[in-house]
Symmetry: C2
Subunit: 455 residues, 2 copies
């Protein structure tokens, strides 16, 4: 019994704090406010690609919402973003079987020449096969990368599949291709193309790059199997614009004892421009805002500052997070931990961390409150979310409340990312988990140390 | 025992015929040829709206396929169709929450004035509510009909929901509206608008008419709930063209004893123009062609002629069927029965008929072979399919192999009606049922009489 007492006393989270967290958790399960927030963002703002009018409206929306939610301080920090205009993108097979194709320009795709371009397509199983191909095979052709993505609860099919999107245009252009057609990085079989970011830095002669919907990639595949050359016409009207401003939008609940120590919880405010960004990342925005609102309603502030950062320009290369870390480099040691919600609106099923080994007991204590939500303890490899990973790379500890992403990539970066895909009950469960984690980190005694930095 | 023998002899279908039908059924279950046909039609032709280039290619495709499938006679019969060019259709909310909407022109929608039109929307629960509304409420506005369709295996939600599409524009125009926006007649929540036919005959001042995807109808609904006027801009560029030709494509297996008596099995060859028409009605085309091929491979022809009619221009008002019946009015008495497959590619689960009461025993005998396919006996109210109904109205008996349509209206008339929605195994089961029904009607002694005509 004496040993048990010692052991209980050694635990970093006090029973009182855990009791408060439990109350917060149960309030979260009763509240539909997170759903109202994502409804508001999708209805009143909708698409909000970084640097567009929609983005500006989203920033205004976030400031206005934060001001009503009980934050002590609400402000923006400007960032610089590469801007780009999406014009039309038409594609059609002209031979041997003329029919239209559904496509979407990848982010920053250059236009075709006025009047379009027509060329034969050449198929590659994946970006590795393209890399190995001779320039002779590719020159003057439209490269068609036809790699399928695997469905998984973890979304782990994304990493390998997204290589074609991020690197395909560069490699195709270097080998003299006239354009890239990419089977969408997605798990659905709906006639939506999945847009997304590609790397354009330093590409000397970029060529148009378009995602094909899965049924359209199937069509090209079936035509090619018939053995005759398949010719496709592309007509794309995009434009690279001058750099412009966007913003990280920030709300703080100021710590009562150690206001300079900060727990950052985040999501990204920007979205792609064809859907209304309900899953990516309206849900995340709603989850972290509602988490903060619940904590702000407590009779006293937590020990530390809880800072909600709605990152700008995540979709175009973690721009808001990178510029945030750059601007706040001298304060990084005071960021006690980071976590971002950016994987849709599925139920949280796993609790990952990135902590020094001697801090695992904190996570174990949190599990007391997370397990009843159907959450299991995961691994210590969390990257804290896409924007969070920029902090983790600097040694900031992270938490990861892993959502069920089984159908996330059915909708990701398509016009079909809309509010109806968000289950209000799942959102409550998310907030319940987030408020436990966020409150306990902001309130706990001691700190979480640093994690090894990545180079 | 004597009674049993008499009873057996009184049955209209002989045991030998039933045995042959059973062999055909089991061959159908082994063959993937129907899937190959719908694959070929969607890959090599794709969209084939009546009167377009795609329609012409579909007619050539059908003739060429029929010539390889063992028909005794293959021919076309010309029909006249109203032609129409689908241009772009853009819609966006301009106030209070600017964002784009996903829409599709309904068939024969007129364009907007050059540069588009902008007006406030006025919402109606359904076409009945619009009918009752004062012209004052509607004049100068964009009518928004916001009726949801119910999901059902039978598809019975379609009839009531489609009223808004068929009549909405006419009523809106008569009351002085400047356009119609219709919540899509569909059961999905994907960001696809469902196009389709509307009645334009005799509308003096037609206005642009567009379907909204379900998520976009939700958006308008949510904006209107906020109480401020919602203004929408439409920019539509369609064109009514001169009438032109299309074709019914017909293949016959000539009867060995009564070639002048004909069982018609059909599907429609045309499709809407945004998908590849895999479910509507590529699957039906494949099912009836494969049914005929299996029967053509028997060592002898059935007693009667089996005529496969691939109707043209079904989508724009059963045009091919109506002109067929008009052109063949004097031969209608020789059409012993009709049946059409036009409800996608789900499993057949119910066997309906439209027979004189004294012919029910034929259907009962067919059930011996259909029941093992998971098919139950339905009612005697079959209309023989959309095109089939034109024959039934003239007294021709009909059979209806009712498919499971639970998800049919998720895809119907959208870009998402593509090959991947067709389950090859379900198609085999369909052909198995069709070949039983088709062979036994073509082969049986006696006839099916006439059914009461409709007026
Ligand atoms: Zn995201
Ligand atoms: Zn994203
Ligand atoms: Zn149809
Ligand atoms: Zn149809």
């Amino acid at each position: 019994a004496a040993l048990a007492v010692v052991s209980a006393q050694a635990k970093p989270l006090s029973q009182e704090d855990i009791s408060v967290a439990e109350v917060l958790r149960d309030r979260a399960l009763e509240s539909s406010d997170a759903y109202s927030l994502v409804e508001s963002l999708t209805v009143e703002v909708g698409p909000r690609r970084a640097g567009t009018e929609g983005d500006r409206r989203a920033v205004a929306w976030a400031l206005q919402k934060m001001k009503t939610l009980g934050f002590d301080r609400v402000y923006t920090e400007q960032i610089d973003v590469k801007r780009w205009h999406r014009g039309h993108a038409h594609a059609e097979v002209v031979a041997p079987f003329p029919q239209p194709l559904v496509v979407s320009s990848l982010g920053y795709s250059v236009p075709t020449p006025e009047g379009g371009l027509t060329a034969e397509i050449v198929e590659f199983a994946d970006v590795e096969a393209l890399t190995k191909a001779s320039a002779k095979k590719v020159k003057g052709k439209i490269v068609f990368i036809n790699r399928r993505m695997e469905r998984a609860r973890t979304g782990e099919g994304y990493g390998p599949a997204v290589q074609g999107r991020s690197k395909g245009m560069r490699i195709a252009a270097e080998k003299g291709a006239v354009a890239l057609l990419l089977r969408s990085v997605g798990t659905d079989s709906d006639r939506f193309a999945h847009t997304g970011m590609m790397s354009i830095e330093g590409v000397e002669n970029p060529v148009p790059a378009l995602a094909l919907s899965a049924p359209d990639a199937n069509l090209l595949e079936a035509m090619l199997k018939r053995g005759k050359p398949v010719e496709v016409k592309l007509d794309v009207d995009n434009e690279l614009l001058a750099d412009g401003p966007s913003f990280n939008v920030i709300g703080e609940i100021t710590g009562r004892e150690k206001p300079e120590e900060v727990m950052i919880i985040g999501a990204h405010l920007d979205s792609w421009d064809e859907g209304t960004g309900a899953l990516d990342d309206g849900a995340g925005v709603a989850i972290v805002l509602e988490t903060a609102r619940l904590i702000a309603e407590l009779p006293s502030r937590p020990r530390r500052t809880l800072r909600v950062v709605l990152f700008g320009a995540e979709e175009i290369g973690l721009v808001g997070a990178k510029q945030y870390v750059e601007a706040h480099r001298s304060e990084l040691d005071n960021i006690i931990a980071v976590s971002e919600s950016d994987f849709g609106a599925g139920k949280v099923w796993r609790f990952d961390t990135r902590l020094p080994e001697n801090k695992f007991d904190i996570a174990d204590q949190m599990m007391q409150l997370l397990a009843p939500l159907g959450i299991e303890r995961g691994n210590n490899n969390s990257h804290g979310g896409p924007d969070g990973s920029v902090f983790v790379a600097q040694g900031v500890p992270a938490f990861g409340l892993y959502q069920d992403g089984t159908d996330y990539f059915d909708f990701h970066h398509t016009p079909n990312d809309t509010l109806d895909k968000v289950d209000p009950e799942n959102l409550k469960q998310n907030v319940a988990a987030w408020v436990v984690m966020s409150f306990l980190v902001a309130e706990m005694e001691g700190d979480l140390g640093r994690v090894p930095t990545e180079h």
